[in-house]
């Protein structure tokens, strides 16, 4: 059988969702943002909610998410996406509102907005891409940077005595009564991609069902910030990030399902 006989419309099993625009992604080669974007858009497509979905892009590498996700989007000030989402969901309680945020955005400058939106239980999905670094601005330390990890502002490794330990914000928000589904995933391998997508889908369904705040952390790579090739960075992530940020559900259907200390 020849290739050209396989490549026929009737044999199509996977192509990029139409919910992603044709714009070339502005991300570095191998960056997990692209995959995560796509999963969110696949879910929006599959749930048939494009007419009701409003996304919030953060400040960070994914600031241009609105160029790629083919839904209505608002670009929020650094860290304020959960407040922006609150403004929308409160005035349009039947819309499906999600934020898409990096770790600097969500867990540094935006800590307060994150905690309070989650505590109020705003009926939104928060997609939290934790790459342990400020990708956009050139690889500075993030609140989630690992102990000893190098960044452009911790060139000799993060010194926890000076900078504190990485902040496990997801463990904190899981404990707030307003959150309903809190979980941590990754997108570096096919199996993980599939799981992450399931989680995202569940989160959007929960919001459709008006269950409160859905919080999905995606532990991701930042090749540029980590100064590694994409493949190497994924390996490094598995070895170093996952032990500190263990994957899995923390809170399901409003109940904590894991020891969070």
């Amino acid at each position: 059988m020849e290739i050209k006989d396989i490549i026929k419309p009737e044999n199509l099993v996977y192509q990029k969702t139409k919910m992603m625009t044709d714009n070339t992604l502005s991300y570095c080669p191998g960056c997990g943002h692209g995959t995560t974007h796509r999963l969110v858009m696949e879910v929006v497509e599959e749930l048939g909610i494009v007419e009701d979905t409003i996304g919030i892009a953060p400040v960070g590498c994914s600031v241009l998410a609105y160029e790629f996700m083919n839904v209505d989007m608002t670009q929020a000030a650094h860290g304020r996406a959960p407040a922006v989402a609150t403004g929308i969901i409160r005035t349009w309680p039947d819309k499906i509102v999600f934020t898409y945020q990096g770790d600097g955005d969500l867990a540094a400058i935006g800590t307060s907005e994150t905690i309070h939106a989650c505590n109020r239980g705003e009926n939104i999905v928060i997609i939290f891409v934790n790459n342990g670094i400020y990708g956009m601005t050139g690889g500075q330390m993030a609140p989630t940077t690992l102990p000893g990890m190098k960044s452009s502002t911790t060139p000799y490794g993060r010194d926890v005595a000076l900078m504190g330990n990485p902040l496990k914000i997801t463990e904190l928000v899981a404990q707030l009564p307003g959150t309903y589904f809190v979980t941590r995933h990754a997108v570096h391998s096919p199996a993980h991609v599939r799981k992450t997508k399931k989680a995202i889908k569940k989160a959007f369904q929960n919001v459709i069902d008006k269950k409160g705040t859905q919080f999905i952390e995606v532990v991701s790579n930042c090749n540029s910030g980590w100064k590694m090739t994409p493949v190497k960075s994924n390996e490094w992530m598995v070895e170093n990030m996952f032990p500190f940020y263990p994957l899995g559900d923390m809170k399901v259907d409003g109940k904590i399902v894991k020891d969070l200390h």
């Binding site: 502005s26 991300y27 570095c28 080669p29 590498c61 956009m136 540029s224």
Partner: protein, 180 residues
């Protein structure tokens, strides 16, 4: 004398450091210099460029729209900067990866097979030094001594052992540059 140069290519090609060495060389011969990079996320995976000015006078604007010399290292940069070369100016480029070659007839055009030569010399990192050599051959605006001094200044001490390698790359570039 004032020489206004743009160096433009991909992120990883050593565009910025080539500009820096040039600027340092200018300082070594007591000139005024400026070095102004493109900056920000547009650099990500995309192109990088730097404007370098060497002058005997105080430099006014470090940002230029026209150049005495354009050193072009990829197609996007060619598309963007060919038109900015002043009449009678110089366009030096590495033909590797260039599909649409420059078409202007009112400027001097040279090529240098930098990528190829660097690969031959077994070290892609010296690519930019080869290109620098090519440029200096055509426009010897800074003396080789001063370039070496500039290199010393701009490289951290621990890399000074690499200077001879860089020097030979520059010399290689000087030999291999070709008028188009």
């Amino acid at each position: 004398m004032t020489e206004e140069i743009i160096i433009a290519g991909f992120g990883g090609q050593g565009v910025l450091s080539m500009g820096k060495i040039l600027a340092y060389s200018g300082i070594m011969q007591d000139q005024e210099v400026s070095w102004m990079p493109s900056y920000g996320p547009e650099m990500r995976g995309g192109t990088a460029n730097v404007t370098v000015i060497l002058s005997d006078e105080r430099i006014s604007s470090p940002i230029l729209t026209e150049f005495d010399t354009a050193i072009i290292l990829n197609q996007q940069s060619m598309d963007k900067f060919e038109k900015g070369v002043k009449k009678g100016g110089l366009l030096l480029y590495d033909p590797n990866g260039i599909i649409h070659h420059p078409t202007r007839t009112d400027i001097d055009i040279y090529t240098i097979n930098g990528a190829e030569l660097a690969a031959e010399m077994g070290n892609p990192k010296i690519f930019n030094m080869i290109v620098l050599g090519a440029f200096l051959k055509i426009k010897p605006i800074v003396k080789l001594d001063n370039v070496i001094k500039g290199l010393k200044k701009s490289l951290p001490e621990r890399y000074h052992n690499l200077i001879p390698l860089n020097q030979s790359a520059i010399e290689k570039g000087m030999q291999m540059v070709k008028a188009k």
